[in-house]
């Protein structure tokens, strides 16, 4: 079996090269530019020299052509927003579909992926000669990365490039990294107004946690940045403790927290589905409960 690795970031280039060993005896990387070439740990590295003034997307034809010629069995592509586009275009050129956001990959290439907003896991496999996956090394078994890194220079195929990049601005980094936090407080529609976030933050500070939210709070109310929206199309967490405040517990949200070790729920509706998933809960007014908790744990 032969696996191709294509990554956008150097750490994932190295990690995926290592992981691919569990699936293929030949591991070959496709690297755009020197940084990714140097990060590869493979038998062979197909190096495409950086072209001036082109977008990363403009390498799609070159990569697809390489896959068509070299015929790997598996193509592992790092999950990023940009790669979602590049992988989809490659698949279209090769007449197949990408298995995206893989959460588990069996040795025979059968992949698992969350569907219906996280209500179920789908197991699927490619029917054609090449299987393309979008994934991160965190879902694969770890393997020591190694390889002779034989460099093969690949000529750039100039596409009919039509999209012009006028400017790129670095995004202001959200100070919060929810995935790294062991204690997370999540809020939903039960919070009446934006000003009440002060109360929520005071509570989060008292228990040394970070604040996340459901999709409506980030995308409709825009009270919190999109980076802290928890759910199937947002961040997926596995903290020690998750405190769900004023959120009903729809599956689209709870899929992002059901790996939490302990779930605590505060909601005035006894019928809220979140209580079915909670270790500890209180059916009551969050505006009474939260200040009491802050008082108790802030000492």
């Amino acid at each position: 079996m032969k696996a191709f690795i294509y990554a956008e970031t150097a750490p994932q280039m190295s990690a995926l090269c290592g992981c691919a060993r569990a699936y293929a005896d030949a591991v070959e990387a496709v690297a755009i530019g020197d940084e990714l070439k140097d990060a590869a740990l493979a038998d062979k590295v197909f190096h495409i020299a950086t072209q001036a003034g082109v977008m990363v997307e403009d390498y799609t034809e070159t990569i697809a052509d390489l896959i068509a010629n070299e015929q790997p069995d598996f193509v592992f592509i790092e999950t990023t927003r940009r790669n979602k586009l590049i992988a989809g275009r490659i698949a279209a050129l090769l007449g197949t579909s990408v298995m995206t956001d893989v959460i588990e990959l069996a040795e025979n290439g059968t992949a698992k992926h969350l569907v219906y907003g996280g209500a179920a896991t789908r197991t699927e496999k490619a029917t054609g000669p090449v299987a393309i996956y979008l994934l991160g090394s965190d879902v694969l078994p770890n393997h020591d990365a190694q390889g002779a890194n034989e460099i093969v220079e690949v000529p750039f195929i100039t596409p009919v490039s039509q999209v012009k990049c006028r400017s790129v601005a670095k995004k202001e980094k959200s100070a919060v990294n929810l995935s790294a936090s062991q204690t997370v407080v999540g809020i939903g529609r039960g919070i009446a107004k934006e000003d009440d976030l002060v109360m929520i933050r005071a509570f989060a500070d008292a228990i040394e946690g970070e604040v996340g939210c459901t999709r409506p709070i980030a995308e409709e109310e825009k009270w919190l940045p999109r980076e802290v929206y928890i759910g199937v199309s947002g961040v997926m967490l596995a903290p020690e403790v998750y405190v769900a405040i004023g959120l009903s517990g729809q599956v689209q949200h709870t899929v992002g927290i059901n790996r939490a070790k302990t779930i605590i729920a505060i909601n005035k509706e006894a019928s809220a589905p979140i209580f079915k998933q909670a270790d500890y809960g209180i059916v009551g007014d969050l505006y009474k409960v939260i200040p009491a908790l802050t008082e108790a744990f802030g000492k």
């Binding site: 586009l85 992926h113 599956v251 209580f275 998933q277 809960g281 009551g284």
Partner: protein
């Protein structure tokens, strides 16, 4: 400008139930517009309001999507007309098949400047159809677009990636997938719902199109996860005593 918004009809996941053998039961789930595609429709409405032209909604799927209530629902969101391809041969298509079917359906449309897709479908959320469609059509395609303006016949798009925001100039025709926070889809009022019944809706079968794409992905099983065992220690009420008891409980883990 003539805009086509592609939407997927999915079973409403609010009505999904899990059977004892962990398979999903769709019997009570009504066909509904995939949530994220509402943003594509809304953006189309907004672009036509600002720039003139027309908005067509395009959808492909199995025969169950040919449902009058659903068609009215789609058209009440502000589109001028609907092109639907409904056929049992188009049941549970993968991303490649869907893109091939959309391309074949687009061949039935006179002209278009912009094709809009949502961020991903509410059922599979693979985020692949827009990318495949643009490639198959051989026209520019960009995903993650969080703002669209039109300038001298080109789309100026703000594209939000993980760590950066790009400003792109995209010549038309093009395929653009919009983010779920690009706009807030309007809710149709009674007037819009009544007007929707009078808007043109064309329904075609697979045989009306030049479409013959075989499945590229085989689905082996779709199962709900086994629920994590939880303690379920729930206190009813928010009296001082109840809150104190709750604090005593959570103090074990906080």
């Amino acid at each position: 400008m003539n805009v086509v918004a592609c939407v997927k009809v999915v079973p409403d996941d609010q009505d999904l139930t899990v059977s004892p053998d962990y398979t999903l039961d769709f019997d009570r789930a009504r066909p509904s517009i995939s949530t994220y595609d509402l943003n594509a429709v809304e953006e189309g409405v907004r672009l036509v309001e600002d720039n003139g032209g027309s908005l067509k909604v395009l959808t492909v799927g199995d025969s169950s999507i040919d449902d009058s209530k659903l068609k009215k629902n789609i058209l009440s969101r502000g589109a001028d007309d609907l092109l639907m391809v409904a056929d049992e041969d188009m049941k549970a298509m993968d991303a490649h098949q869907t893109a091939c079917a959309l391309k074949a359906a687009l061949a039935k449309i006179d002209s278009y400047d912009l094709i809009l897709c949502g961020d991903g479908s509410a059922d599979l959320y693979a985020q692949q159809v827009g990318a495949q469609l643009g490639q198959l059509l051989g026209i520019p395609v960009i995903n993650c677009v969080s703002k669209i303006t039109v300038e001298n016949g080109a789309v100026i798009a703000e594209r939000t990636l993980e760590h950066e925001v790009e400003i792109l100039e995209i010549p038309m025709p093009a395929v653009i997938s919009v983010t779920s926070d690009i706009n807030l889809p309007r809710i149709a009022g009674m007037k819009q719902i009544l007007a929707a019944g009078k808007k043109p809706a064309v329904v075609l079968r697979a045989t009306d199109l030049e479409y013959a794409a075989l499945a590229t992905i085989e689905v082996l099983e779709t199962l709900a996860p086994k629920e994590t065992d939880r303690k379920h220690i729930i206190i009813e009420g928010d009296s001082d005593e109840a809150i104190a008891a709750f604090i005593a409980n959570v103090a074990k883990v906080i």
